[in-house]
């Protein structure tokens, strides 16, 4: 399974697929997705050429949000390094940029674990006004320990998150961070985090303004819910997002016993393995529960198998 559809909103604004033949209009109120497709690629066009064309439109200086879509080459074969380099070089021409999504690439374009990411740390220095940063694909991805005074939203979407990336995130200083989303993924695609690895985050000592925590697309969602239930971080959260993973009755029971869970505004567990009865009991906490996409575990006679929503 993968991701098959583009987001229509990013950084609070509607997204437009940038079309080289259409001059930018109302640029400050839209986010632009710049991508390469096969025909462009065949014609020898590179993503960085398209960015250059985009920047040639004088209105691009008003743009606040960019999405980097498929960047061409053979899928996954050409890393995002030239893309990051070009974006860093464009820093003075995008003075208002506060939202960047690097690699909104669909499974139909490239499997998520085949997306060749790169060291994105120079972006945080180049764009001090950045508030929203998402990245898709963890292969080759490095964040470094981020020091950023404005970043509010950080999300790593991937099929398997390595321990090194987790350490990068936990070593970051992000005093304004409100929304943290980590897609932990499946072991077969590089997921390494155990509940013990999450301890620094659960202690609540990182990211003083955190109100949205997403530990998504995980094979160990129930274990995570088990340790979250009594974790100090939960006390500060408004939204707990355990969606796309393997949340089941075990996780629900842990949250039902949690002193902090009733203080949440919203619990998102969509793509879950929970019984209707447990969902009702979670709703009984008086919080909003998003519990769509109920899954049925596979059983080949050797016990239940639960699958994350986004792997490969």
């Amino acid at each position: 399974m993968g991701i098959y559809e583009f987001n229509q909103q990013f950084a609070g604004k509607p997204v437009i697929n940038w079309d080289a033949n259409q001059p930018l209009a109302d640029a400050e109120n839209h986010v632009y997705r710049i991508s390469i497709d096969w025909d462009d690629s065949e014609a020898g066009e590179k993503w960085t050429d398209r960015l250059a064309m985009f920047l040639d439109d004088p209105a691009s200086a008003q743009v606040t949000g960019l999405i980097v879509g498929f960047w061409g080459g053979e899928p996954g074969d050409e890393s995002a390094a030239p893309v990051v380099e070009a974006l860093v070089a464009a820093r003075d021409r995008l003075p208002l940029l506060n939202g960047l999504f690097l690699g909104e690439i669909l499974a139909e374009e490239c499997e998520i674990s085949w997306i060749a990411q790169t060291d994105v740390s120079p972006l945080f220095e180049a764009y001090p006004k950045l508030e929203y940063f998402r990245v898709r694909g963890s292969t080759g991805l490095r964040l470094g320990a981020i020091r950023h005074a404005r970043l509010k939203e950080l999300a790593i979407e991937c099929g398997g998150l390595g321990r090194d990336l987790l350490h990068d995130v936990f070593a970051s200083e992000l005093p304004e961070l409100e929304h943290l989303e980590l897609w932990l993924g499946a072991e077969g695609y590089g997921a390494e985090a155990t509940v013990d690895d999450l301890a620094p985050l659960l202690s609540g000592e990182l990211f003083p303004k955190l109100t949205y925590l997403g530990l998504r697309d995980s094979e160990i969602t129930d274990d995570i819910a088990g340790v979250l239930a009594n974790a100090p971080v939960l006390e500060r959260l408004e939204v707990l997002d355990l969606s796309l993973g393997t949340f089941g009755n075990g996780g629900a029971a842990a949250l039902l016993a949690s002193p902090h869970a009733p203080k949440l505004k919203k619990l998102d567990i969509h793509h879950h393995y929970c019984s209707d009865e447990m969902i009702e009991r979670l709703r009984g906490l008086g919080i909003e529960v998003e519990a769509s996409e109920h899954q049925t575990p596979d059983d080949w006679g050797d016990g239940e198998h639960r699958f994350v929503a986004v792997g490969e």
Partner: protein, 388 residues
Amino acid sequence: MRSVSDAAHRPRYVVLGNPGCRRVGLFQEALVRAGLAPALLVSWLDLLTGRDDLSVTVQPGDVVRIESPGREFEVERELLAWGAESADEEEFDRLSAQRLQALTFERGRILAPRQWYLGFRRALARVSTQLEACGDVTTMNDPAEIAMMFDKPACHAHLREAGIPVPEALGSVQSYEELLDWMERCRCPRVFVKLAHGSSASGVVAYQFQGDRHQAATTTELVREAGEVRLYNSRHIRTLRDPHEIGTLVDALGRHRVHVERWLPKAGLDGQSFDLRLLTIAGEPAHTVARLSRSPMTNLHLLNDRASVERVREQAPAVAWEAALDTCRRTAAAFPRSLHAGIDLAFSPDFRRHAVLEVNAFGDLLPGTLHAGQDTYGAELAALSRAA
């Protein structure tokens, strides 16, 4: 103007099809709804065995509809027998007449699609000859154009020559080794390998590789039995990651003639990827459904989710939608003797482009899908009466 109640001018309909088949039943119902007499039926099996001949049944002024010969084992066996006697330009797997006689029905078994096609093409030529002897008849679809639509490489080349956007084809491939060679040469790491004469997702492999990572999604099951490799269609998509296993499958399909083309990424809708089945009637786009899938195969079977055309129109920029409709009109025009054509069309993820993936001769089985208040068969009959 002719009045519908003017019985003298109501044409008689003749269907060449399989008795009891759903398609025939739905068409008969449409005739009744239109106030017409049910069609006379000539069965494929009788035509193939020589027990019946269209020239006996069809009279001048009749309208003839050729229906799918599919889903009937005895008809399949007979078409294979017709194919056993046909010469071929290239060598592909064959079943001898003797082995055909011994065959029993096995659900999902892919027998010898190339041989089946040779038989079908020959049978269609026979249909043409028989119809020519009938004088002035109207045909809803044309034997030669049906034969073209059932030949994916030929259909692809035909569309390409007509300037219709199609995925790039990678030439004729008979083995996995050749496939890898082509993919490297064309710098094309994602391809669809399809049986040249398969319908819907039969014998389709969506294959991609990067470095030493290989992945192939397929509904084709490969079974080794009695010293031979047998292929079966399954409803489940399997993902193969072992290049040897992928190679064995591609080699096995290659023995039945395959069409290989670039796997164009498709746009998404409601969290899934999608393509369109768009039926043209008398050259104009009519019944349309969006087929959603979380796999590379959107045409797997009727179990796939569907979305209304309105949902697509909400997503696709108007200019992209109009361009796609125009492509469908031009595709229909490339088959001028077919009243209807079932076009499979996909948009690129950003809707900037689109391509025609297939043209289906019997693509009008879309029960429950209405256009201007009519089902596919009703709309076809209305188009015919307008033309009359």
